[in-house]
Symmetry: C2
Amino acid sequence: MPVGDKKVPDVVIRRLPLYLRSLESIDPAEYPIVSSEALAKMVGTSSGQVRKDLSYFGVFGKQGVGYQIVLLKGELRRILKLDQEIRIGLIGAGNLGAALVRYHQKNRVHQPLEIVALFDTDEKKIGRKIADVEIHPVECLQEKIQELKIKVMILTFPGEDAQQIVDICVENGVKSFLSFVPVPIKIPAGVKVQTADVTLELQSLAYYT
Amino acid sequence: MPVGDKKVPDVVIRRLPLYLRSLESIDPAEYPIVSSEALAKMVGTSSGQVRKDLSYFGVFGKQGVGYQIVLLKGELRRILKLDQEIRIGLIGAGNLGAALVRYHQKNRVHQPLEIVALFDTDEKKIGRKIADVEIHPVECLQEKIQELKIKVMILTFPGEDAQQIVDICVENGVKSFLSFVPVPIKIPAGVKVQTADVTLELQSLAYYT
């Protein structure tokens, strides 16, 4: 929770999991404290940025010493709401969808981020499983979101009807989207879309070539 | 190219492809001009943000009228260096890598972003093609980067040896990376890494639930 009413910039939120991941690679029994300089080096940013990012949440290191690793990990998990299970759905169980599910299940070590349902329009896929997660018909979206308390939805389908599908998700309590859909999506205030469209990413990376 | 010496924030660069994509969905013969309000609505931001983003590059709309669509598209392509071919490589032709290649080739319509080579360590994959792009042994990385003038590299491999592989890429002229690798990567100044790790994305999205 940010201190006061300051809205925390999205870029700051996107760096928090990087801090957490870096901290998780340190054995706190051996190194109980990390300096902002060391943490900055691990994630490829500056020590000033680390201190500023964490200060948004009232988290301050001890001057000249640093941050207690165990405490800082706990704080980051709490801030990111990773101290509770987050239930995720995925719409579009094609090549990309299937690869993402497999990738996530393999790499999610110790994360409470659980992909609990997949959805597709292709009848032949219904009832099949990818990495132990069942594929449901897209018609069951409303029912399954409510039943499984899905809060995050990954969108990996071609894009037709995207807005209609997103609307159903939002109406039933989905709070954030990771979208690979190649069309812009409208959402109400309080809901978040992260666009992870690979072509868009590559277009913005072209700037740096 | 930014006006003066102002460094353009990464978040601004990431919005430019969204503007471009929205403009490409308009028929300029029918609608030759777009207002900052209309463009903002299409990408889900504010008109002030649109004007500010474009002003970084000395691009200004006509007060009370808006932006000439054909000119603005040209400017955006020039800024993003999409007025030339950008050659892309991908290391790690597994499930995720293969899905990304197929997804990009299907969705890249009219984009000069060409995936020209895939790399893998698995001997059985060498010489095979995914969406018409050949898989080379990772030992040929240096040679192929130079021969094919690869400037952007997508990383979709498990992560061991990641730093060593990135170093080879950088030494041979790769300027930016789209990384799905679940370990932090160090790069020198002037090189850009966009982390597209799905688990990291989901962790930051948890914040908004």
